[in-house]
């Protein structure tokens, strides 16, 4: 398979183009903008045979996608940050109507303070909206997971939309070497869209998203729960097939040097490559460090995570979210629940907010804190890492950007 060069947004557009959507509605927002622009280019120059509907907001973009998808076409959109927050209401409509929309989300911080840069607070705020969530580690995975997401979401037992999450700038604007299938190979894998469950058809009229009585709502939600349960198996089947066809098998979780590990970190997204680099250096120094990357966050692969980490004495979970007011931030909460009773000590780390770089040095610091706990020199860790100066002294923005 020949190598091509894409940034993360380019890889997302390439996968969407290969899946041949019939309707596109996207509203530009940094750092997603080049997805909206390139999709528009593709429609204008005939690379995608779709209607591009211009909208005034993300709320409208998803509303158009819902309506169009109900008529029986594959749809495309993408968003980020406050755009996703504005879309929130309609995201629930999409999942509740069991419409298998696949949406790249370029991860960016939420306001306030205003920010343009990467963290996971936007998609974590949507984690219970009834969408599958995949977090990409590389630009290659943006292409692979987007193509797989169509198959998983549209599977007749799943019928649940997907967010394919890619870190703003670290992936969206990072030019990397990517291996891509041909258009024919990709189409043979994804296949045409088939409408199921709810649809708009004048010859077969049905109610869509009308008022549901209390006596039926719980059952409708239960159907979604069953869809999520099937999604976990379907994802593995689709990843296996993708691996057989294209030589790269996407994963639900990625295990790295965990078998004999004394200490391990759990990461998500682009930070994971840097963490792996830090693990390699620590291993050279004789420290038994390991890494678990969560790629599929919804459905949460609790069983696999427990199996992978149950013999690691000290585990740290890195959240790129503040998790304000929670017992632990989102990823740490779920990993702790997965490991309940396993005997591991689980700690939470919070950092990398609003694009603050998580350097290999920062990772070595986190592993060092876990090692202190493992060796009995500390009882706990400092959850918020890389805090600068006196954080309580800041009030208004001091550095103009």
């Amino acid at each position: 398979m020949p190598f091509r060069m894409f940034d993360g947004n380019g890889a997302a557009v390439e996968a969407i183009r290969m899946a041949r959507p019939g309707v596109i509605a996207a509203y530009p927002i940094t750092p997603q903008s080049s997805i909206a622009e390139k999709l528009s280019d593709c429609v204008a120059n005939g690379q995608i045979d779709a209607e591009y509907i211009r909208v005034e907001s993300e709320h409208s973009a998803m509303s158009v996608c819902v309506g169009a998808c109900l008529t029986g076409v594959r749809v495309a959109t993408a968003t980020s940050s406050v755009g996703l927050a504005l879309m929130h209401e309609v995201c629930g409509v999409t999942s509740g109507c069991r419409l298998p929309v696949v949406m790249p989300v370029v991860n960016r911080s939420l306001v306030a303070p205003w920010s343009l840069w990467c963290d996971h607070q936007d998609t974590m705020a949507e984690r219970d909206t009834g969408w599958l969530q995949f977090y990409c580690g590389t630009v290659q995975e943006v292409l692979d997971l987007t193509l797989c997401a169509y198959r998983i979401s549209e599977h007749q037992d799943v019928l649940t939309p997907s967010m394919v999450c890619l870190d703003g700038f670290f992936l969206s604007h990072s030019m990397q070497k990517v291996s891509a299938p041909t258009d024919e190979e990709a189409w043979d894998f994804v296949g045409p869209y088939v409408r199921r469950n709810m649809y708009i058809d004048p010859t077969d009229v049905m109610f869509v998203n009308d008022l549901c009585p209390t006596s039926e709502y719980t059952e409708m939600r239960y159907q979604q729960k069953v869809g999520f349960e099937r999604a976990a198996d379907v994802a593995r089947e689709v990843f296996d097939e993708y691996g057989r066809r294209f030589g790269r098998r996407p994963c639900t979780v990625e295990k790295y040097l965990l078998d004999d590990a004394d200490i391990a970190l759990v990461t998500m997204g682009s930070m994971s490559g840097t963490a792996k680099f830090a693990v390699n250096e620590l291993r050279r120094q004789g420290v038994k460090a390991g890494l678990l990357r969560i790629c599929m966050f919804r459905p949460f692969p609790a069983g696999e995570i427990r199996e992978a980490l149950k013999n690691v004495p000290v585990v740290g979970v890195v959240d790129r979210s503040a998790g304000l007011g929670a017992a632990q931030p989102p990823a740490a909460t779920e990993v702790s629940a997965a490991l309940r009773g396993a005997g591991c000590r689980v700690f939470s780390f919070v950092g990398g907010l609003a694009g603050r770089d998580i350097s290999d040095g920062a990772f070595k610091g986190l592993y060092s804190e876990l090692l202190d706990v493992f060796e009995g020199q500390a009882q706990s860790v400092n959850t918020w890492f890389d805090l600068k100066g006196d954080p309580m002294a800041l009030r208004e923005v001091d550095i103009i950007c």
Partner: protein, 182 residues
């Protein structure tokens, strides 16, 4: 692994230049990665770029803190941004400037310095003060492991023949100064 940090200003083509460099490395069979950092997409704002190349998979996806070289597309940035921060011992500096090396406060660890007035060359050959392709020429002359002909072809494909000439002029006219023995 070779790491380079790019410093430019919005509108100078910094991001496009580094992306072309990454493409050239990959086209020659290597591995490359580029991560830009900018905020508001505004002309004149400082732009940062972090470039890595290697013979195998590149794991880190972070900023570059200890570059083997820095490329500076606008010499006014020297006073505005810590452009030389973390430069490795013996590292290279490629700088767009009309100044002489004696007028510049280069960091003590710099081993190689390439100077040229890329803006002037761009104005003459392209008719616009966009120095990115000229600077790529100077960089290709300075750094190891880049096939100048592959890069020239990519520049021609993206920007046309004037920019290819600008690239070759940058390559040809850059003064590569060895600041240290060996």
């Amino acid at each position: 692994m070779l790491e380079i940090r790019f410093h430019g200003r919005g509108g100078q083509g910094t991001v496009n230049a580094a992306q072309l460099l990454a493409k050239a490395v990959v086209a020659a069979g290597g591995y490359a990665q580029f991560i830009p950092a900018f905020g508001v997409e505004r002309k004149g704002s400082p732009v940062f770029g972090y470039f890595r190349m290697d013979s195998g998979t590149i794991w880190p996806k972070t900023q570059v803190y200890e570059p083997d070289g820095v490329v500076i597309l606008d010499d006014s940035l020297i006073r505005a941004v810590p452009v030389f921060e973390g430069l490795r011992e013996g590292g290279f500096v490629v700088l767009n400037t009309a100044l002489d090396v004696r007028e510049l406060a280069l960091p003590p660890q710099a081993g190689v310095c390439t100077l040229l007035d890329a803006t002037d060359i761009a104005r003459e050959l392209i008719g616009a003060e966009i120095p990115n392709t000229v600077m790529l020429g100077a960089l290709a002359r300075t750094m190891p492991g880049v096939d100048a002909d592959i890069l020239a072809g990519l520049i021609r494909g993206k920007y046309g023949e004037k920019n290819e000439r600008a690239f070759r002029a940058g390559f040809g006219s850059a003064q590569v100064l060895r600041l240290k023995e060996g």
